[in-house]
C-alpha cells in the first residue's frame, strides 16, 4: 500500500511545468486568443518535440505508454497554464480509445503513430458533450452514432462554431451522416469504448480544474500580498485570508481524490465510474471556489480583461460542466453508494 507518486513521476511533472511556464505564459495565451483558429501550430510543434503528444501511445506505436496516473499529474499542469490547445483530447482521450481497438482496425496504428509525433489533431464527440471541442481544426473526429464509434475525416462533417466565453475553447455543433466506411466499433464493444472514453475525458477535465484552482489561488495570493489598503497588504486581513484558506483546503482534499480516480481507471476497477465522478465533483468545486474567492480578493481588478485571472476563471467555469455536469456526476456517485449492498465506510477506500 503506497498512495504516493514515484520520484520519476514527480520529476516528469516538474519538467512539464517548467516547459509550459515558458511556452504558455499568459501573454502568449492572450495572443493566441486573438487569432481566428485559437490554436498555435508552433505551440503544438513544441509540445510534440517535448514528447508530450506521445505520453499514452503504446510503446510499440512509438509512444511512452504512460497510464492514467501520469495523466493525473499532466492534466494539472495543462490546467495550471490553461494551455490554448486540446492536447489531452488527442494525446490522452482519443489515444486511449484508439489503443483499445483491436490491432489492425481501420488505421489504428497509423493514427497512434501520428498522435505520438503530434501530426494529427483528433476531436472527440462523446455524447455527454452536446458540442465538440476543436472540431474545426481537427483532422479526424471520433463521433458517436448510438453505441457505434465512427472515425470521420474532417472534410466529411459540417462544423458550426459556437463561441465560448473561454476563448481557448473552440466548440462546434457537428453535423454528419454515419457511413460504413467510417465505422470502427459497434454494439457491445462500441458501448464499452464510449464508457472508457467518458472516464478519461472526465479525469482529464478534473485534473485541469484542479490545476486551474491552484493557479487562481497562486495569482490571488500574489495579488493580496502586494495590494495595499488602510496602509497594509490586504492579505493581512482575516476576511481575505479566510477566503484563500478555504480555497487551499478544497484543493488539498481534491488532490488525493483525483489520484485515486486515476488509479481506479488505470487498473480497470469495477468502482471506477464513481471514483472518477467524485474527482470531477471535488476538482470542479475547488476550481469554482478558487474563481469566486479569487475575483473577490482581486476587487475591481478581478473584473477586468487586463488581469490574468479572467483567463483561468473562464476555463474553470467552462470545464466544470464539460464531460458531464455536476448533476450527471452526482447521479453516478449516488448510483454507486445507494445501491443495495454497496461496500461503504471504513476499510472500503481501496477494496470492495
Amino acid at each position: 500500500m503506497d498512495f504516493t507518486f514515484t520520484d520519476d513521476q514527480l520529476t516528469f511533472r516538474e519538467a512539464v511545468s517548467r516547459f509550459l511556464m515558458t511556452e504558455a505564459a499568459p501573454e502568449m495565451l492572450r495572443e493566441i486568443w486573438e487569432t481566428d483558429s485559437g490554436r498555435s501550430p508552433e505551440l503544438r510543434k513544441n509540445i510534440a518535440e517535448q514528447g508530450l503528444t506521445a505520453l499514452s501511445v503504446p510503446e510499440d506505436c512509438g509512444g511512452l505508454g504512460m497510464d492514467d496516473v501520469a495523466w493525473a499529474l499532466m492534466t494539472q499542469e495543462l490546467g495550471y497554464y490553461a494551455i490554448p490547445d486540446s492536447l489531452a483530447d488527442a494525446a490522452y482521450v482519443a489515444a486511449g480509445l484508439i489503443t483499445a481497438l483491436p490491432a489492425g482496425t481501420a488505421s489504428r496504428e497509423e493514427w497512434l503513430a501520428r498522435i505520438a509525433e503530434g501530426s494529427i489533431r483528433i476531436a472527440v464527440g462523446h455524447p455527454v458533450n452536446p458540442l465538440v471541442a476543436d472540431a474545426n481544426p481537427a483532422n479526424l473526429l471520433l463521433l458517436a452514432d448510438g453505441d457505434a464509434v465512427h472515425a470521420v475525416p474532417r472534410e466529411q462533417v459540417d462544423v458550426e462554431a459556437n463561441p465560448s466565453i473561454d476563448l481557448s475553447r473552440r466548440l462546434a455543433r457537428v453535423r454528419w451522416t454515419p457511413a460504413t466506411a467510417t465505422l470502427i466499433a459497434d454494439g457491445e464493444s462500441g458501448r464499452a469504448l464510449w464508457a472508457q472514453t467518458l472516464n478519461r475525458g472526465v479525469l482529464s477535465a478534473a485534473g485541469q480544474l484542479l490545476g486551474l484552482a491552484q493557479r487562481m489561488l497562486d495569482l490571488s495570493v500574489d495579488y493580496v500580498a502586494q495590494r495595499k489598503q488602510f496602509g497594509k497588504p490586504i492579505g493581512s486581513f482575516q476576511a481575505v485570508k479566510h477566503h484563500l484558506a478555504d480555497v487551499a483546503t478544497k484543493i488539498e482534499f481534491a488532490k488525493p481524490v483525483l489520484y485515486r480516480a486515476a488509479y481506479a481507471l488505470a487498473h480497470g476497477e469495477a468502482g471506477a465510474d464513481a471514483r472518477v465522478s467524485h474527482a470531477k465533483l471535488a476538482c470542479g468545486e475547488a476550481a469554482w471556489l478558487a474563481a469566486r474567492h479569487g475575483i473577490q480578493v482581486h476587487g475591481a481588478m478581478g473584473y477586468t480583461w487586463e488581469v490574468d485571472l479572467q483567463m483561468f476563471m473562464k476555463r474553470a467555469w467552462a470545464l466544470d460542466a464539460a464531460w458531464g455536469d455536476r448533476g450527471f456526476h452526482k447521479a453516478r456517485v449516488a448510483d454507486a453508494i445507494l445501491v443495495e449492498g454497496a461496500a461503504l465506510g471504513p476499510g472500503h477506500t481501496f477494496e470492495e
Binding site: K232, K241, Y259, H267, V333, L344, P346, F350
Partner: protein, 389 residues
C-alpha cells in the same frame, strides 16, 4: 503508487476484525462523560491493552505493537467500522503520548507510557485558561521552581479540560519564568490531579453532562521530574502536541467514514420522507465523497511521511475539513429524522435518533476545540500560503 494491501497488512486486518468480533461489549457503554461510563470505558481500554491493541503504533516495550502508520489506519478502520467504543483516554494516548516519545526522558517514558496505554492513568489537558483561549500564549498560571530545584510550585487556573472531573493526571503549560511573556518562559508539566492544592470544578456541557472542568491550583507541588522537555521550552513542546492533535492521530478517517455509512443507511431507510427535500440527497452524497476524500488524504499523507516528508501547516486543513464535515453529516441526520431528531435517549420513541442527537451535540464542538477553525484558517493563510500577519 500501489494500492494493494500486503499479505501482512491483510493478516493484521483479519486479526483485529476477529478480535473485535469476539470481544466487543454486547451492550453500548454508558457515556464517557459520566463517572459510570468513564470507568466502563477504562475497563474496555484495559481489555484492548491486554490484547496489545490499545496503542498499536507505540513500540512494544512501551505497551504498543510497533505498527507502522498504514497498519494504524487499518486498525482504525476495523475499530470504528465495528462500532467499537470511543477512546476515553485519547488526550493522553494521542496528544501527550507522542510528545513524550519525542521529548520525554527514558525514565518518563517508562513511568508514564505503559500506564497510559493501559489507561491505569487517565489524562486531561491543561491548555486553556479563562483569558487564554484562542490566544494560548496569554497563559498566566505559574510554576515556580523551588530554591532547591526539586519541585515547582503551581498556582493559577486551567479550564475546558475534557473529562478532568474523572481523570488522574493533567498535562499542560505553565509560566515558569514570572518575568516572561507570550511564548517565552513556559514549561510543560505533568500534574497528578490528586495532589494537595488541586481543586476540580466540573462544567456542565451542552449535553448536560460533566464533559469538562475547570481546575484551580493553589501552591501545588510538582516534582521537577514531571517537566517534559527543557525549562522554558514548553511552547515548543506544546506546539508539537498541537500539531499531532490537528493532524491525523486524533481524528483518523475511519470514525467519519463510519458516520457516513450510518447516514447512508439512515437515508435509505427513510427515503420517502427525506426526498421531499432534494438537498438531503446531495448532503448524503457529500457525506460519502467528503469522508472518502479525508481517508484518501490520510493515506496520501502517511505515504509521504513514510518517504520522509513532514506534516506542516497543511495539518490545519485537516482540522477544518473533518470538523465541518462531521457537523454537516450530523445536521443531515437531524434533518432526515425530522420531528424525532430532538428526542433524547430517555424517549421511548427515540430509537436511533438519540445516538444521532448525541453526535450532533458533540459535533458542535468540533470547529471550536483544538484551535478554532478561524485560528486554523489564519495558520493556513500565514504558514501555508505565506500571507502577511
Amino acid at each position: 503508487m500501489d494500492l494493494a494491501y500486503t499479505p501482512r497488512q491483510k493478516a493484521f486486518r483479519e486479526e483485529v476484525r476477529a478480535w473485535l468480533a469476539a470481544n466487543l461489549p454486547r451492550e453500548p457503554l454508558a457515556s464517557y462523560d459520566t463517572r459510570e461510563g468513564f470507568e466502563q470505558h477504562r475497563e474496555w481500554e484495559r481489555k484492548l491493552f491486554d490484547a496489545r491493541l490499545s496503542m498499536v503504533i507505540w513500540p512494544e516495550a512501551l505497551g504498543g505493537r510497533g505498527c507502522d502508520l498504514i497498519e494504524w489506519l487499518i486498525f482504525e478502520e476495523e475499530y470504528y467500522g465495528a462500532g467499537a467504543p470511543m477512546r476515553v483516554n485519547q488526550n493522553g494516548q494521542l496528544l501527550l503520548g507522542p510528545t513524550l516519545i519525542e521529548f520525554g526522558t527514558e525514565e518518563q517514558k517508562a513511568r508514564f507510557l505503559p500506564r497510559m496505554a493501559s489507561s491505569e492513568d487517565m489524562w486531561a489537558q491543561g491548555w486553556s485558561e479563562p483569558n487564554a483561549g484562542s490566544d494560548m500564549a496569554a497563559i498566566t498560571s505559574k510554576a515556580i521552581l523551588s530554591a532547591d530545584g526539586t519541585h515547582y510550585v503551581v498556582n493559577g487556573q486551567k479550564t475546558w479540560s475534557t473529562r478532568a472531573s474523572f481523570a488522574d493526571w493533567l498535562f499542560g503549560l505553565f509560566r515558569s519564568d514570572p518575568g516572561s511573556s507570550r511564548h517565552h518562559g513556559l514549561s510543560y508539566l505533568a500534574v497528578p490531579l490528586d495532589a494537595p492544592g488541586v481543586t476540580i470544578r466540573p462544567i456542565q456541557a451542552l449535553n448536560g453532562k460533566q464533559a469538562f472542568a475547570e481546575i484551580f491550583f493553589d501552591d501545588v507541588k510538582v516534582p521537577v521530574e514531571n517537566r517534559i522537555g527543557d525549562e522554558g521550552q514548553g511552547w515548543h513542546v506544546a506546539m508539537a502536541t498541537a500539531g499531532f492533535e490537528r493532524g491525523l492521530l486524533l481524528r483518523s478517517p475511519a470514525r467519519f467514514q463510519y458516520t457516513a455509512r450510518r447516514l447512508v443507511e439512515l437515508y435509505k431507510a427513510n427515503r420517502e420522507v427525506a426526498d421531499r427535500d432534494p438537498s438531503i440527497r446531495d448532503a448524503v452524497i457529500e457525506a460519502w465523497t467528503g469522508t472518502e476524500a479525508y481517508a484518501l488524504s490520510a493515506y496520501h499523507t502517511v505515504g509521504r511521511l513514510a518517504k520522509g516528508a513532514r506534516i506542516g501547516a497543511e495539518a490545519s486543513t485537516n482540522k477544518i475539513f473533518w470538523s465541518e464535515l462531521d457537523l454537516k453529516m450530523h445536521e443531515t441526520a437531524m434533518r432526515i429524522l425530522g420531528p424525532f431528531a430532538e428526542l433524547t435517549g430517555d424517549a421511548p420513541e427515540a430509537r436511533e435518533a438519540a445516538r444521532w442527537l448525541d453526535g450532533f451535540l458533540f459535533a458542535q464542538a468540533g470547529p471550536i476545540y483544538a484551535g478554532t477553525n478561524e485560528i486554523q484558517r489564519n495558520i493556513i493563510a500565514e504558514r501555508m500560503l505565506g500571507l502577511p500577519k
